[in-house]
């Protein structure tokens, strides 16, 4: 008995640098998870990039320098305005894991976006790190805040560039259902009317409670 397979090469990515970005848009920030996995044939070059003193280990300084090298190849813009991306956290695998093609460098990046108005916005993410040999993935995560709703994603063909269209809502718009808001509003109007009636001649003490 025989099994015949038409297999001639490896089981895994060899000569490409897989760079997967997941982007979370929040009301006051954009968070980016960037996973960098060099293929087996890319590993030596990437390790050499990181291990600048060639001592075979990746020091904290070398890791930080490589992270900054990656950061320098990224662009993040909100509504056309470039933003400074900061490294929030990083994780580097053992070099041997990278040489086996299973090591992933994980970077957690963040940028603050203060004072976003309600309405439509766009965030642009562009990754040109190792442009010549990379395979890119870029995706918006479902926002954790109900104030943000992603309305569209646009990419260039190789996913090195992603534009996320989103809508920013006012906090009150989504925190309570309409019927409850209506009820609260009606109650407030009623209370106001009652207070006005009771506060006549009391100097307009807005904190006064009827009967107090």
């Amino acid at each position: 008995m025989t099994i015949v397979g038409g297999v001639s090469t490896s089981a895994h990515r060899r000569d490409e640098y897989l760079q997967a970005a997941r982007i979370a848009v929040e009301p006051d920030a954009v968070h980016i998870e960037l996973d960098l996995t060099p293929g087996i044939e890319m590993a030596a070059a990437v390790i050499a990039d990181i291990d600048s003193n060639r001592d075979g280990s990746l020091s904290i300084e070398e890791r930080r320098a490589y992270s900054n090298q990656v950061l320098s190849a990224l662009q993040v813009e909100v509504d056309g305005k470039p933003l400074q991306v900061e490294l929030a956290d990083s994780g580097f695998p053992e070099t041997e894991a990278m040489r086996r093609g299973e090591g992933t460098i994980r970077l957690q990046l963040a940028t603050t976006v203060p004072g976003q108005s309600t309405g439509t916005h766009q965030v642009l993410f562009r990754n040109h790190h190792h442009r010549d040999s990379s395979v890119y993935l870029a995706n918006a995560l479902v926002p954790t805040s109900d104030r943000v709703a992603v309305t569209g994603q646009r990419r260039v063909g190789d996913q090195s560039e992603l534009t996320i269209d989103y809508v920013m809502r006012a906090p009150a718009e989504t925190s309570l259902p309409i019927w409850l808001l209506s009820g609260i509003a009606a109650g407030a109007i009623g209370m106001l009317g009652l207070r006005r009636g009771n506060s006549t001649g009391r100097g307009g003490d807005s904190c006064a409670v009827p009967g107090s």
């Binding site: 008995m1 025989t2 099994i3 397979g5 297999v7 490896s10 490409e16 897989l18 995560l141 479902v142």
Partner: protein, 367 residues
Amino acid sequence: MGMPMTTRTSAVLVLGCLAALTATGLAQRSATPAAVAVTPATATARIVTAAQALLATLDEAGRAKVQFPFAGPQKTRWSNLPGPMFQREGLRLGDLTPTQRTAVTALLSTALSPSGYRKVAEIMGGDEALRNAGATAGPPGTGGRGRGGRPGGPGGGGPRFGEDEYFLAFVGTPSTTAPWMLQFGGHHLAINLTLGGSQASMTPSLPATQPASYTVEGRTIRPLGQENDKAFALINALDTGQRAQAILNYRVADLVLGPGQDGRTIQPEGIRASALSPPQQTMLLEVVREWSGIVTDAFAEPRMTEIRSNLPQTYLAWSGPTTNGSAAYFRIQGPTLVIEYAPQGGVDHIHTIYRDPTNDYGAKFTR
């Protein structure tokens, strides 16, 4: 543990599995409807009985190897990679006696549907074909030839392929009431079946294959052939306007939510199933069933009911050509479902992932 099964040929195993499956399938088809309608609680009881039967064949060392605490890290330790690129824990099939291996087969065929078990056996057969073809995955000069064998043996630390290199683990103690997980996997395969009384979740799971097609005694085996063919039939059933919505204008080279991406939910893209005609929706569900139907029917049917109820909020996205035989990525994503099918550079190496973002590892019933 017993005598290693080093002399068993892959062809015997694959054909043996297929013969057993055929017999099982015929028996199920000929059974009365009442006998087929196994309740989820009964299914769990049967799986637990099969798990305990396996445990009874093991010595103390074997039981220690297979058993992991439910709250520990083993639950999320799975991968598409071969060993030792990814070092799995648990019972290695190649270390088992024929009796123990038969008990593993009985357990898997109880936990999975006939078609699901066949898929698993064929994925393993594909890895055996990969081993026979002498595939390499190590960098030049490292001696990393994939010839099977154990770590530290001849050939060094190169990837190990073949049916002996699959591992079984119990995360938690097999129980008809308390949560536990049956974990089975190796290169291109991760089955994570969490059970909790009458509830079950077979997500996340990763059925993949290389090669995508191989022959056994002149018979062509395509482990993920149904997934491929049904998906191409679906995309070709869409009209021009629907395709314009479904087909992404960018390349997707790999899984987005593969191993290590637990707990993440990406923004859905593509065409909503509500924009499909009823026949097209049926075709979409038939694609989904290729993953949801891996588990035994008692759990697959309620899962399909749930997925069907969420159909209006479910999306189909496609990247690549629409001619069958081409390499194309697709994703089906709904409130309780993520399926990705990602060819790795060509049509002969496929990765897929199956998730429930609300119930991976039985999150709904194990809290």
